[in-house]
């Protein structure tokens, strides 16, 4: 199968009112098309819509998803996304029409190169190609889904095996020998066809048909349970990773939190101690102010100069007033007595003199002044530190709310574990092959696949015997076995070959022998490593897919968005060199940030490269097809 992409056209799809991106030069698709789009303009949308055009899954979209393509803020009723492709050199135009009023989509396919001509309703790309494209996993390989890179390395996924089966046409082989495959169906037709006049044969045919229907139902249940189990396991793994990361982060935060609390406790002690010292000093007035000290000293000096307090007390004069004569020998009459008593009140009592002498002594012997400035500085400095720490503690307090998230996730994981166990138990019942276990579980051919297969075989044998088709039936079974062995052997050999070549490419891209794939099973297993970075994952995916494509009988375009964002410069250069050599057509949707190291590797190529820039303009977008504009475009992100 040879598939190429010629043109992409948008009409009223999100920001794109009317936009056509032509990927051809003189009607032929160019080797490399680089379409630069800032984030939010429509890279992911374009990738999604291209996939829908090929695999037909737009019919399954819900109303909310359909309306998400409606241009925001514009009253439009319909929209259209269209791709022009070539399938084995035949031009096909696939359109998805969006009815935004009814929230529905309709496919149209045109089989001529003239748009609108020969248009039919539905997705009709031809019998040769449709079985491939209806496999969503197959389309994701070349309209590349970045999530696939992670899934290729996930032990829960079967992406690697699926990719090999899809690209090397092994699915057709599988379809022949699988249960309910083409051989089974043919055998069934032979065994149950014809005018079944015999009541016994008719009865057996009905039973066999019922058993086949039951087997289909059980197979579907198994597929659903396996998918659910895979999803639940992946969810649990993802949640546990998140819990581990949060725990690690929270533990660090708690350690910092505790350190700050302990620092603050020491700071508080220092503040307390300095405050007590300061208060001790403040309790002595002479420490508080020079002005007060000066006043006290002046008072002490004057008391000395004025000989205060006087040595004569009030009591001396009161006693003198009662005497008949004064100390000078002169007599004391009534008049003198009254005058002495009156003046005596101007003198201090002896007790008063004691108090004043106490004051005089206290202020004469003032202790040296103790300065308080240093203590004030210590308190201020520590208070600043304390406040700073308190702010940090508050900020950490908010961050440690991750604890709640951990609790919530742990509870969710516990619920998922119940789901996981239920799924696993149901799967065991459905697939158990050991007879004793089947008996213990009390399963029947209607609830167990193995028993159902046996039952089908039993009725087939009986029917073949009754109709004389035993030989035909045995040969059909033998053919199935042979085809199965061919398939197993083919897959093994392919895997071995792909493993070597993929490892060579990984080494070339990553310039290192540190990362290698040890085994290709359902997924890719790394040698002695449990994990790799996002950039390394993508590099491994490119190496694996490019190996698959280079050996595959299909010739497909490689359509990818933001292919280099997680890669460092050296890896980008290698990817830019490697990809074009592996595909006949590459369409890359990228941001301006990916020009360096990736897009710039294509600037010097004189032909076979197209450089488009799609950017916002007013309420829509505009398209520039110019390499200089491409090189210099600066998005407003």
């Amino acid at each position: 199968m040879k598939l190429t992409l010629h043109e992409i056209q948008y009409t009223n799809i999100r920001e794109m009112k009317d936009l056509t991106i032509n990927l051809c030069d003189s009607e032929k698709p160019v080797h490399v098309s680089l379409v630069q789009m800032p984030n939010g303009v429509g890279k992911t949308t374009t990738m999604e819509l291209i996939r829908y055009c090929l695999d037909g899954t737009a019919n399954n979209l819900d109303k909310k998803k359909i309306l998400s393509f409606k241009p925001p803020g514009r009253a439009v009723k319909t929209g259209k996304f269209e791709i022009k492709i070539s399938v084995d050199n035949k031009i096909r135009i696939v359109s998805i029409k969006f009815d935004y009023e009814k929230a529905t989509v309709t496919y149209f396919t045109s089989k001529t190169s003239t748009k609108g001509g020969g248009q039919s309703r539905g997705l009709n790309l031809g019998r040769e190609i449709e079985p491939w494209l209806k496999d969503k996993d197959f389309v994701r390989l070349f309209v590349f889904d970045g999530e696939l890179a992670g899934q290729l390395l996930s032990s829960e996924s079967t992406s690697a095996e699926k990719a090999i089966n899809a690209l090397y046409l092994l699915n057709s082989l599988k379809n022949l020998f699988e249960d309910d495959g083409e051989i089974d169906q043919l055998l069934n037709d032979v065994l149950t066809e014809g005018a079944q006049t015999d009541k016994g044969i008719k009865n057996l045919s009905t039973r066999l048909r019922n058993a086949h229907r039951c087997k289909k139902k059980l197979d579907k249940l198994k597929a659903d349970l396996t998918k659910k189990l895979g999803t639940v396991k992946w969810n649990i793994g993802d949640a546990r990773d998140t819990i581990d990361k949060l725990r690690k982060k929270t533990d660090q935060l708690i350690r910092r939190y505790e350190k700050l609390i302990s620092e603050n406790s020491l700071i508080e002690k220092e503040i307390e101690s300095a405050t007590e010292d300061l208060m001790d000093k403040m309790r002595f007035p002479h420490n508080l102010s020079d002005k007060l000290v000066d006043q006290l000293k002046l008072l002490a000096t004057q008391m000395g100069t004025l000989k205060l307090p006087k040595t004569q007390s009030m009591e001396f004069f009161e006693e003198l007033a009662e005497s008949k004569e004064c100390v000078c020998g002169r007599p004391i009459g009534k008049k003198e007595k009254e005058q002495i008593k009156l003046r005596a009140k101007e003198f201090l009592t002896e007790n008063n003199i004691g108090v004043i002498n106490g004051v005089k002594t206290a202020i004469r012997n003032l202790p040296a002044q103790e300065k308080m400035a240093d203590l004030v500085k210590i308190i201020k400095k520590n208070n600043r530190l304390k406040k700073l720490n308190e702010r940090k503690i508050l900020a950490l307090d908010k961050k440690t709310k991750d604890k709640d998230k951990i609790k919530e996730l742990t509870e969710t994981v516990a619920l998922w574990r119940i789901d996981e166990k239920e799924c696993a138990d149901q799967l065991i019942m459905l697939t158990e092959k050991r007879k004793e276990e089947q008996e213990i579980m009390d399963v029947t051919w209607e609830t167990n696949i193995d028993l159902c297969i046996n039952q089908i075989e039993d009725w087939q044998n009986k029917l073949a015997e009754a109709k004389g088709n035993v030989d035909f039936k045995n040969k059909a079974m033998l053919l199935k076995e042979i085809l199965k062995q061919i398939h197993t052997e083919s897959v093994l050999r392919l895997k071995k070959n792909i493993l070597c070549k993929t490892n060579d490419k990984i080494e070339k891209i990553l310039k290192s022998k540190d990362i290698t794939i040890s085994k290709i099973g359902n997924c890719l297993s790394l040698t002695d490593r449990s994990g790799v970075s996002e950039g390394q994952k993508l590099s491994i995916a490119y190496a694996f897919l490019s190996t698959l494509f280079s050996e595959s009988p299909h010739h497909l375009p490689f359509i990818v968005d933001t292919p280099a964002a997680p890669l460092d410069l050296q890896v980008r250069r290698e990817v830019a060199e490697t990809l074009p050599s592996l595909f006949t057509q590459i369409v890359v949707f990228l941001t301006s940030g990916e020009r360096k190291g990736f897009a710039d590797r294509f600037y010097s190529k004189k032909s076979g490269c197209l450089f488009y820039t799609v950017s916002k303009s007013g309420d829509g977008v505009k398209l520039e097809k110019d390499i200089t504009f491409f090189k210099n475009f600066q998005s407003e992100e």
Partner: protein
Amino acid sequence: MGFNMSSEARAYFRKLSKTKHGKLKLQFDFYYLCLIAGFLDERFSECKGEKFVDEFPSDFLIQRDQIIGLLIATEISRNKIDLKNRQRIEGIMLKLVKPDSPTQLSSEGESLMNQYAEYGFKRILEEIPTPPINLDSFLVRYYEKILCV
């Protein structure tokens, strides 16, 4: 009479009196800080407060004579008394001191002390309007706004 504090002043210092710092457990500490602020400005205000203590607490006995000395010195300075006028100075002392009183101050002396403290409280309220919660911050602000101006 003893030492008085207005209800506003008591309310202002209420949160500090509950602080864990043992050193400031006395109501007299707040009174003393207000008193110093009044002495520094040599101004007083009418005080209608209630008595909270009869005498100088034991923690302030050593400082008692210094405080009485400050009252006398402030009164001499406020009344602009000539320092050579022995009679007037002695008169001030006579007016303020009473040895047999628990505070060793006359009722006039106690009243003046209370009025200086009340003015000092108003001064503090003007400089530090929010009632203090932390002793350390209050003392730093008292030092900067009252003592260092």
